[in-house]
């Protein structure tokens, strides 16, 4: 009998470490945060989504954040 060691990091970090914020019942009047990952045309796609959510669901303020580069983590 031989023992081989696990080369992986095991179970990935669980979402419980960063719990989801409470879900709002309606989008009307809420502030919406949108994160662009800087892939080509990603900003344009989010612009359309933002416009749609404003018109149809009454989202109030929209906070736009973009990564510096698609390969980089979100900066603080």
């Amino acid at each position: 009998m031989i023992r081989i060691l696990d080369p992986t990091l095991g179970t990935a970090p669980t979402p419980a470490a960063l719990p989801l914020a409470p879900r709002p019942a309606r989008l009307s009047g809420v502030t919406l945060g949108l994160l662009a990952n800087r892939k080509s045309n990603g900003m344009a796609l989010l612009d359309r989504i933002a416009a749609h959510l404003r018109e149809r669901h009454g989202v109030a303020e929209i906070v736009r954040v973009a990564k510096t580069n698609a390969s980089a983590p979100v900066s603080e």
């Binding site: 031989i2 023992r3 081989i4 060691l5 900003m43 344009a44 580069n69 390969s71 983590p73």
Partner: protein
């Protein structure tokens, strides 16, 4: 119970069962692996200067930390001898440098390989091949050190093909792409010394590479004629980008340059100056996308060599493909300057075959990173 037996793993009947268990867990690159027994892993770890829990590679986008112990397990699996481990660790530290932005080359459709160029006394000590067939099969150190990086991406960063690794095609260099520079055949100082490390040190230089392009030239020893062939490869529309380039000159080509007194910086500067296509060519070849005009880096790239700089205002994105008469005279060069062209020397003593490795992205891609190998 000893601490060793608490390490996660699996008990198997024999080595053949262990190889199959590794396949069953999805722990391989498709080739068989050496079963990572505790004895072999401990010997690997002991050959490096790092404690088992020392983090050699941290990937911040997905918050993954690869310890020396996990690196050692994957190094055993790749087939490394323990004395390779300091080079393996340095290479992992290099691809984990924040500037390298590993998440991109690890996951992008571009399908790049992680190139490792080894310099210094460690290369010959480990039997790393810098000569005939240096990119091909035959040398254990080349094959297995490069393979560890891929196994770490697969096993620790979960870069499974088609899932997180979204390479459209990938290429065989993704199994392993590690070689030494032939410092004896090079007319120039060793690559790592040109990048600021002291003579006599050992180092790895990493790069995210698309598949290599053989630059065949048997017909001239004149530097400018020879380099014209390289500039043509660098300026091919298929890979033209503001990104980086690696050139590995065959000894024969390097000797032509050396006899004429060409330095490494002069060679890089000449190549940068001559590896260009007109903006009109780029547009005719579908290489100018509307989104380029909304991306400062890409817009700068298109116009940085235009007399007077970028037009103000920039063309509307909807006009991206329209060829204007002045576009014929706008030169779009590969990269942002000669420093984006890294030059090394390697290959067999016979033959006019060098290599150009483009970077993996239509953007700037990621920089070269050089790290010293611990003694």
């Amino acid at each position: 119970m000893s601490a060793a037996t608490e390490r996660p793993g699996q008990d198997v009947a024999d080595p053949w069962g262990a190889i199959e268990a590794c396949y069953a867990h999805g722990w391989t690159d498709g080739l068989p692996v050496v079963p990572p027994t505790e004895t072999l892993v401990d010997a690997m770890l002991a050959a490096g200067p790092w404690a088992a829990d020392h983090v050699l590679l941290y990937e911040p986008v997905r918050d993954r930390a690869v310890t020396a112990e996990k690196a050692a397990i994957n190094a055993v699996m790749a087939g490394c001898r323990p004395e390779y481990f300091p080079v393996v660790g340095a290479a992992l530290q290099a691809i984990g440098d924040p500037a390298f932005m590993l998440h991109g080359p690890a996951t992008s459709t571009g399908g790049s390989a992680l190139m490792v160029i080894v310099n210094g006394p460690v290369a010959s000590r480990l039997g790393l091949n810098a000569r005939a067939n240096l990119f091909g099969p035959g040398a254990r150190a080349n094959a297995t050190i490069g393979r560890v990086l891929r196994l770490v991406l697969l096993n620790c960063l979960e870069c499974r093909p088609g899932v997180l690794d979204k390479s459209t095609q990938g290429w065989p260099g993704k199994y392993s792409l590690c070689f030494a520079e032939d410092e004896a055949a090079s007319p120039w100082e060793p690559l790592h010394v040109s990048r600021g490390l002291p003579p006599g040190s050992s180092a790895v230089t990493v790069y995210a590479a698309e598949s290599g392009h053989n630059v065949l030239s048997h017909g001239t020893s004149d530097p400018e004629r020879l380099l014209t062939c390289f500039a043509d490869a660098l300026s091919s529309l298929s890979s033209l980008s503001p990104g980086r380039s690696v050139i590995v000159f065959a000894p024969e080509h390097a000797a032509h340059l050396a006899r004429a007194g060409w330095s490494r910086p002069r060679t890089a500067a000449w190549l940068y100056d001559h590896a260009w296509r007109s903006l009109a060519d780029l547009k005719r070849g579908g290489k100018v996308e509307p989104a380029f005009y909304e991306n400062p880096t890409l817009a700068e790239w298109l116009y940085r060599n235009r007399p007077g700089g970028a037009p103000d205002p920039l063309p509307a994105p909807s006009e991206a493909e329209r060829v204007e008469p002045e576009d014929e005279a706008v030169r779009v060069r590969r990269g942002f300057g000669p420093d984006d062209i890294l030059i090394a020397v390697g290959g067999g003593e016979a033959g006019g075959h060098s290599a150009f490795f483009p970077s993996w992205s239509r953007g700037r891609s990621v920089p070269f990173v050089t790290k010293e190998v611990p003694a």
